[in-house]
Symmetry: C2
Subunit: 206 residues, 2 copies
DNA sequence: AATTGTGAACCTCTTCACAGCT
DNA sequence: AGCTGTGAAGAGGTTCACAATT
């Protein structure tokens, strides 16, 4: 497949959300201009993004909302269910387990890992807690495809290395540190500090 | 000031973290190549980013770690303290209040807002909880400069509008929706769904 | 008449490459 | 000799503008 930029994927997610909202309001058709306005971008951008994947609209008419939503859902793989492992039962890890959005989006947390032996062998919200050294075994057993990394920065790289050795290639990293991975592995960072610092810069320089 | 890209600011945050780590290890000097390697980018990028703000290195020698860290800290406004309001005492809001990183970084949550009248008038971790309709009053009283938005998507825009009417110009938005703001206002989005969908796309298309 | 799909133009960000310091 | 700082070149992403289609 032709190389698709991260920006395009990010925007497809937004279009998907936009379409979901329109469908809820029983709107059957939408133009690239409308999608663009809702997301504060240009209509050419919307059309260009979609053009990488096919032709989904009707000239003169626009796009059928539910058809386009289905197509984008397919592109993003949203109809699939993913098996996810979560590492780290600290503040962030605990908050994430509470967060129902995961399941809604087809991300099923099948296993939790922690270093603290007191936490292991138990269940949290029905999800079994394992020790870090069981990662390899559990990845195979539960067929984990994605790992959520909610461990301290110092051990984030080594934790990801263990998962990579077991064949996991997709990570959502909450540790505030840059992770080194080969080209066939994707790490998405969720790092509040960086966003806060951007706000700080903005306020300091206006 | 010359326009600085968001990517540059994001990277400055990373350099800041890198330098902090080096200083902890008692390393006095660092080259752009070393900073680049640690963050998986090119050394030219590091030097170019810094060049927007001044000349901090010594040709032939590199950068003094603590001097450069101080300079970047100043650029990002990290030595300052910010007064922050948090809206929404749901799952995310509660998790954020537990999150000590805020205070460490100079972001002081001075007020919490919620629609639920049962929650108002009380304290959470020593922070007073107000009703949404008190935003204007409390923004002035506590001199809030940043608002963290942890409310449902449907009311995110209207919540931000209220803060903007009171003069707040910087937002950290956790609601999965695009917010419309004028040019002199900055909204940073912290949206896990989009990152998850990027992982889903990646796994679906390899 | 309205709106898509897309090549070309444009703009922005990244990398190269080297002069200039230390 | 080694490394920075930066103009110029290159790459990548966005917007323009219009032919094609309904």
């Amino acid at each position: 497949m032709k190389k698709i930029s991260h920006s395009t994927i990010r925007r497809l997610s937004k279009y998907f959300r936009t379409l979901t909202q329109q469908i809820e309001q029983d709107i059957k058709t939408i133009s690239s201009v409308e999608i663009a306005n809702i997301n504060s971008i240009t209509s050419a951008q919307v059309r260009k993004d979609l053009s990488f994947f096919g032709t989904f609209g009707k000239r003169g008419l626009g796009y059928n909302t539910s058809e386009l939503r289905d197509q984008i859902g397919k592109i993003l793989g949203l109809e699939k269910q993913w098996s996810v492992g979560l590492v780290g039962l600290g503040n962030i890890g605990k908050a994430l387990i509470q967060y129902n959005e995961f399941k809604t989006q087809g991300f099923n947390i099948k296993a939790i890992f922690d270093v603290d032996l007191n936490k292991c062998g138990k269940d949290v919200r029905g999800i079994p807690v394992y020790n870090i050294n069981e990662i390899g075994k559990v990845v195979s057993k539960e067929k984990l495809e994605i790992a959520i990394i909610a461990v301290p920065a110092k051990v984030a790289q080594s934790t990801i290395d263990i998962f990579m050795a077991s064949g996991v290639k997709a990570f959502l990293n909450f540790a505030p540190t840059t992770i080194k991975v080969p080209d066939d592995v994707l790490v998405k960072n969720q790092n509040m500090s960086i966003e806060l610092e951007a706000l700080s810069f903005f306020l300091s320089n206006k």
